[in-house]
Symmetry: C4
Subunit: 179 residues, 4 copies
């Protein structure tokens, strides 16, 4: 394990939790009872879609569920999506195997206690500014941004900058794909 900046320069894969990471943790139940409205962030979305396009693997693992969540993630083009996930560890291992990803150089961003086990499995555990105290302690990097307010964007942007891969495509086309 080198220093943080050296390590993210080798990262080719990201794993994200959803509630509290891609959102501020707010969940708004709507009719039908099986789905929530969640508020995602367009700048996070841009970064995810951009990273996927540049060849990075982006995995999303969540206990959350519902078609709204699924369709959002599909629109962003995430590499692998685990909804309704009862066993995040197995999901991660499947992702590592399927995409030949090295856990040692993988970034995992979580915000709460169910993320702790997952964070121990990767080389680069990180979290939003408003993660719970146990997660902050387990993280190598705490973003200055809160969940849903740019934490996802921040870690992707920093990683891709470290590899001189950020902002290489300034046309509007990608912007469309990301929203």
């Amino acid at each position: 394990m080198g220093n943080f900046k050296e390590d993210i320069a080798k990262t080719k894969a990201f794993i994200f939790d959803v509630d509290g990471v891609m959102t501020d943790g707010g969940i708004m139940p709507i009719e039908g009872g099986m789905d929530f409205i969640r508020k995602y962030n367009a700048k996070d979305g841009y970064a995810i879609a951009y990273a996927v396009r540049r060849g990075y693997k982006v995995c999303v693992i969540t206990g959350g569920h519902g078609n709204l969540l699924r369709s959002r993630m599909e629109r962003l083009g995430v590499t692998k999506l685990y909804l309704n996930c009862m066993d995040k560890i197995s999901a991660m291992q499947e992702f590592f195997a399927e995409y030949d990803v090295d856990p040692a150089t993988t970034i995992y961003m979580g915000d709460d206690i169910p993320d702790l086990e997952c964070m121990e499995l990767v080389g680069i555990p990180v979290c939003p500014a408003d993660a719970c105290s146990e997660v902050v302690e387990a993280s190598r990097y705490v973003s200055e941004f809160c969940g849903g307010r740019g934490a996802v964007r921040d870690i992707i942007e920093q990683t891709l900058r470290a590899q001189d891969e950020w902002a290489k495509d300034r046309t509007g086309v990608l912007g469309v794909a990301s929203r």
Copy 2:
């Protein structure tokens, strides 16, 4: 009445108001006219589901109503739910009797004037940072977090920590149940 930390170490039951406690007080009417969208907090939800699982009694009493509110509370597994409640005092007394709960060691978190009477009935009245002034005055503990922004999580976490009951289950399974 001992000091606050000693008293929460004996707590086995929580009573929560909804609007302004589990939410920031925001209510968004939607079509049908009988229901509101409310924005709950995933970290609060984790703490409630976890506490119930560890054997704590969690009662929710609200003047609010609607299927969305009901299904959210059911999903979290709250022990007892009073919606549309015209008489919070009677509801509390029923809860105390039914679950053999001692008011002296019960925590009640409210945020506004209709909560004042209830707060006088328990040994440990508490409130979010943004409760109204009368409620702040009537509280033994004012969370540094606002309603819907972690006040519920804060009081549950502090209480369970005082009993060495916090963060004993780090698997993702519980995370699923809470969302």
Copy 3:
């Protein structure tokens, strides 16, 4: 015109704008195209329902429209409601006449330029912390709270306190009516 505190001690009527006063100005269009989701504040709602119950006249005048807005105001029991209002001045004058209200002791809370004319017509123009600069200038009192974050509650609470009419009914019953 006396000082502000003397004047609100004589107030028996309130007039409120909706967007930016009862809300943070956020409007969320939903399907059908004729209606918005707005986020109201439960503590504001409590204060309005309470004031009406204590005999105060509460008038709401807005250029906004839609069944959601109407049903929210009806639920709070507002004395008089003008939706879709093209001529706020005439609406105010009708309200003054119908309820025998004296403009000199009426409070008007607005937040933007279309409110300026109305504010000149009452003795006690007030505004939320985040009103536009022209409205701030035209106000005798600027709440420390923003629209949708307690500005309405603040002015009602201050007024009723000045008349020793605040917090006289602490039962949960009223809480129900207000939500």
Copy 4:
């Protein structure tokens, strides 16, 4: 290129991005999968509708889509609307030609990387306080307000003030049109 204040005094046209400019970047997927709930700002809306009424050209170009977005913009009376826009540059050039607008005196407000190319095409690129770093760098003016929290209002208000065109119509009528 003169100084900023001299240049906005000559502006007759505005171009706005939507996500992160007219909103805080929050997008809330709803059922159907083809549309998002977005939270617009009433004070921004007032300014746009007012500017159009005073003869300014207001163009909105976005990669976003959906009937909700379209109907909001139509209600505000925007001069020209490009939804689902894959090629923002061509859209801008069409707008310049169709309305005989001079790019050198046009204001473009964007917040993220897909806006950079567009910003180079106008004389007065500006952005909200929370734009990404590349956009901040490319801007001649950074509003003190964030996207969805008044950035649009700010730039319109400043521009119209510089031309003594602000707040010339204080009746409620316009307020109606803007909401």
